[in-house]
C-alpha cells in the first residue's frame, strides 16, 4: 500500500473501495476462510463444552505507544478477557471506525500488529467491519473486538469465584502500572519521561500453564482501575476479606518515582498484561514456579491472601506495619488509556 495514501470516506461505504481495503489489507493479514467463502457471518462448530463470549472497544490515545498500539491492545484485551475465565480463546471479530484522512500506512501497521498478536495467541480473526467517518467525528481510529473461547465445564466456576476459601493465596504475574503510566506520559506530560513500556500481552498460554499446575479458584485481568478495582469488586458483599502486603507487590523503581511525584496509587493504575489469581494455598508455590518459567510470568509472586477477617473489605498491610483499606478508584484517573 502506498505510504502517502489516506483513508477516505469511500473505504467505509461498502463499495469497491471497501472491497479493495478488505482484500488488500484485512484479509492479507488476518487470513482468508479455509473454505474460501467470504460470508456476512462466520460459521463455527464448537465441540461440546461451554462458549465464553466477550466484547471490548479500544479508543486509546496515543494510537502508538512504547510496547504496543491500539491494534495489539484490541487483540490482547479480548483474548485476556476470555482466558481469565478459563476459556481457550478461539475466534475474534474486529470492527474499525476510522477518521477520514487517517494514513493508510499507519492502518497497515496496526493491522499487522493485530495479526502478529493473534498468531501468538493462537486465535483467528474471522469477521470484521469498517466504517469511515468525516474528519473530527472520531479521534483517528477506534477498534472493537469481540471474542469467543471454548470453556471446559469443570472451569466454569473460575470467573465467578465460587470456590474461593479463606487461606487461598493471591498471585500476580509481574510489575503493576506499566501500561497506564506509559500511555499517560506518551500522551501528555511535557516535562516527564517515564521510560517505561506497556505490558500489553496475550496471557492465554501463561494462564494455561498455571491452570495445569494447580487448583485455581478465581482469575481476573487487572485493566482499568488496576488491582484495586479487582479486589474491591471481589470482596463486595462476600463473607471473606482480602489482605495484600505492600512490600510484596512488584513495582518498578521508575513507577514508584512517578507515582510518588504525581500522587497516584499504583494499585489503581491500568495494566494490559497482568492477571490476578486466587489459588488453593497448597498449590500456590507450584503455580508461581510454573508461571515464572513463562516470559509473561517471570516476575510472578504471591502478594496476599483471602482471609476470614474483615469480610467484605480489602486491606493493605503497609510497608511500615500499618493497615489501610483498599478502595475502588474514583472517577477517571487517567482518561483513554485503553
Amino acid at each position: 500500500m502506498e505510504k502517502n495514501k489516506t483513508i477516505l470516506l469511500g473505504h467505509g461505504s461498502g463499495g469497491r473501495m471497501s472491497h479493495e481495503l478488505t482484500e488488500q489489507l484485512f484479509l492479507k493479514y488476518f487470513g482468508r476462510p479455509d473454505d474460501g467463502f467470504l460470508t456476512d457471518a462466520a460459521l463455527l462448530e464448537p465441540e461440546g463444552n461451554l462458549l465464553a463470549f466477550t466484547t471490548d472497544s479500544f479508543v486509546v490515545d496515543p494510537v502508538f505507544f512504547p510496547g504496543g498500539d491500539i491494534g495489539k491492545l484490541a487483540v490482547c484485551g479480548t483474548v485476556n478477557d476470555l482466558c481469565v475465565a478459563g476459556a481457550s480463546p478461539a475466534y475474534l471479530t474486529a470492527g474499525f471506525i476510522i477518521e477520514e484522512g487517517f494514513p493508510l500506512s499507519q492502518l497497515e501497521t496496526i493491522v499487522k500488529s493485530m495479526a502478529l498478536c493473534a498468531s501468538e495467541a493462537g486465535v483467528k480473526i474471522i469477521a470484521g467491519d469498517t466504517k469511515v467517518v468525516h474528519k473530527h467525528k472520531c479521534d483517528k481510529i477506534f477498534i472493537n473486538t469481540s471474542g469467543i473461547g471454548i470453556l471446559e465445564r469443570r472451569y466454569a466456576h473460575l470467573s465467578k469465584g465460587t470456590h474461593i476459601t479463606p487461606g487461598d493465596k493471591i498471585i500476580i504475574n509481574g510489575f503493576l502500572a506499566d501500561h497506564g503510566l506509559t500511555v499517560m506520559t506518551a500522551r501528555e506530560a511535557l516535562s516527564i519521561r517515564y521510560n517505561g513500556t506497556s505490558d500489553c500481552a496475550p496471557l492465554n498460554h501463561l494462564i494455561r500453564c498455571a491452570m495445569d499446575a494447580g487448583d485455581i479458584h478465581f482469575m481476573r485481568d487487572a485493566t482499568r482501575g488496576g488491582l484495586a478495582a479487582i479486589v474491591t469488586e471481589l470482596v463486595d458483599r462476600k463473607t471473606f476479606g482480602i489482605e495484600l502486603h505492600e512490600n510484596k507487590i512488584p513495582l518498578r523503581e521508575n513507577t514508584k518515582g512517578l507515582c510518588e511525584m504525581l500522587g497516584f496509587d499504583p494499585l489503581q493504575i491500568a495494566n494490559e498484561g497482568k492477571v490476578m489469581m486466587v489459588v488453593a494455598s497448597s498449590d500456590a508455590e507450584k503455580i508461581v514456579a510454573a508461571m515464572q518459567k513463562h516470559p509473561y510470568g517471570k516476575d510472578s509472586c504471591i502478594i496476599g491472601e483471602i482471609t476470614d477477617q474483615h469480610p467484605g473489605t480489602a486491606v493493605l498491610n503497609t510497608i511500615i506495619g500499618g493497615k489501610r483499606i483498599i478502595d475502588m478508584p474514583a472517577g477517571e484517573l487517567l482518561p483513554r488509556i485503553c
Partner: protein, 360 residues
C-alpha cells in the same frame, strides 16, 4: 528510592510508636495543615500506631479546598473566552464551581490542559502565539515560588500571551486564625515543604504568644512519627517551641533565593478562605509591576454570582471542627465520582482522603 525508603523503615516506626506510648500521659490534640501530611498519615496507617490519647486533626492544608468558589467560577469564565487556553494542575479540573467545572467546560469544547510544571504553561504560550494562556496559580508558599519563576521567565522572554490567575495563599495567618477561633489543639505538625521555602521563624509566634508546640515535619512515615514524638515531648515537658524534624530539607532560614523572588513578584492581600471568611494579609497577588501578567487585570470577564453547595460542611471540616463522616452529604450525595464540595474532589482534601482510605 533514596531519601524515601530509609524513612519508611518498619522497625524504626515501631520503635517510635513504642516511645510515644511510653511518654504520653495527657490527651493530646495535634493539627496538621498540609494536604501532603493528610495523605501520608492515612496512606501509611499512622493513626493505628499511636496511643488512643493522641488525636490527629486535619486542618486547612489543602489549597484547593480553602479557595473560594469564585476562583473556579472566574477560571470557568476565562475558559469560555475565545482563544484562551487554561493551564492548571490536575486537582482543579473537577472542583465544582457554582454551576459548572473546568472538566465540564473542557467537554463542551473549552481548551483546558492539565500540566505538571509551572513552566509547561510558558512552553504552551510559546507554542500558541495566537492564544492567551492562563495559568491557574493555586498553592501555598511551596508553589508560589514556582509561579514566580514562570512569571519571571515570561518577563525575560517578553511574552505577551501568558497570564496568571492567582489564588496563592500563605500559612501563618490561617494558623493564627484557627487558634483565635478557639480550636482546641496542643500543637501543630507544621507543613514541611512550605517551610523548605519560608524557614522556621514565621511560626515563632505560636509558642511565644499561644504556648502551643510546633514541629516542622517531613512526609515519610518516620518523619511524621518522629514529629509526633517531638510534639508529645514538648507538650508533656511544658516547653513549647518551634523545632525542625525535617532537617534534611528545611533550614531555619528557608530558601532565601525563593523568598526574594516571591517578594519581587507577589505582594500580600486580604483573602477569602473557605470556613474562615476573609483573613487579612493571607493571599498573594501579582505586584503592579507585573500587572501585564495578571489575568484578573488583563482579561476582564463577568463572573457569575457564587452559589455555595447546600449542606456542604467543607468549611467546618477544614477547621478540624467536624470529621468528614459528620457531613450528611459524605458518601451519599458527595463522593469522589460526583463531588459536591472541594474537600472531596481535591486529592489532598480530608473528605477525599477519608473516603479513599476507608475511614469512618
Amino acid at each position: 528510592m533514596k531519601y524515601v525508603d530509609e524513612f519508611r523503615n518498619q522497625k524504626l516506626s515501631r520503635l517510635l510508636s513504642e516511645q510515644i506510648h511510653a511518654i504520653v500521659k495527657k490527651e493530646i490534640r495535634l493539627m496538621e495543615v498540609c494536604g501532603g501530611h493528610t495523605l501520608s498519615i492515612h496512606r501509611f496507617g499512622i493513626p493505628e500506631l499511636l496511643p488512643p490519647s493522641v488525636h490527629l486533626l486535619s486542618g486547612p492544608g489543602c489549597p484547593v479546598c480553602v479557595s473560594d468558589i469564585r476562583f473556579i467560577d472566574h477560571a470557568i469564565a476565562l475558559a469560555r473566552l475565545d482563544n484562551v487556553i487554561i493551564t492548571t494542575f490536575g486537582d482543579l479540573i473537577r472542583v465544582p464551581g457554582s454551576t459548572s467545572s473546568l472538566e465540564k467546560e473542557k467537554s463542551s469544547g473549552a481548551d483546558v490542559r492539565v500540566i505538571y510544571s509551572s513552566l509547561d504553561a510558558i512552553e504552551i504560550a510559546n507554542q500558541n502565539p495566537g492564544k492567551k494562556v492562563v495559568f491557574l496559580g493555586i498553592g501555598f508558599e511551596t508553589t508560589a515560588p514556582s509561579t514566580a519563576v514562570a512569571v519571571m521567565t515570561a518577563a525575560q522572554e517578553h511574552l505577551t500571551n501568558y497570564f496568571v490567575l492567582s489564588a496563592h495563599k500563605v500559612m501563618p495567618p490561617v494558623m493564627e486564625a484557627l487558634i483565635d477561633e478557639g480550636i482546641l489543639i496542643d500543637g501543630y505538625i507544621a507543613p514541611g515543604h512550605v517551610s523548605t521555602i519560608t524557614g522556621s521563624a514565621m511560626y515563632r509566634f505560636i509558642p511565644e504568644k499561644y504556648k502551643l508546640a510546633v514541629v516542622i515535619s517531613g512526609f515519610e512515615p518516620l518523619d511524621l512519627m518522629q514529629s509526633i514524638y517531638m510534639l508529645v515531648r514538648q507538650i508533656e515537658e511544658g516547653r513549647p517551641a518551634v523545632e525542625i524534624q525535617y532537617r534534611r530539607a528545611v533550614r531555619p532560614e528557608g530558601n532565601p533565593k525563593a523568598k526574594t523572588l516571591m517578594n519581587e513578584i507577589f505582594e500580600l492581600r486580604d483573602d477569602w478562605w473557605r470556613g474562615f471568611g476573609i483573613i487579612p494579609a493571607s493571599g498573594l497577588a501579582l505586584r503592579k509591576k507585573y500587572r501585564q501578567y495578571d489575568a484578573s487585570v488583563m482579561l476582564p470577564v463577568s463572573v457569575e454570582p457564587p452559589i455555595e453547595p447546600k449542606g456542604c460542611l467543607c468549611g467546618l471540616v477544614l477547621k478540624g471542627l467536624k470529621k468528614p463522616v459528620e457531613c450528611k452529604l459524605y458518601k451519599t450525595a458527595c463522593t469522589p465520582d460526583h463531588p459536591v464540595g472541594a474537600c472531596m474532589v481535591s486529592g489532598e482534601g480530608a473528605c477525599a482522603t477519608y473516603y479513599r482510605y476507608g475511614k469512618e
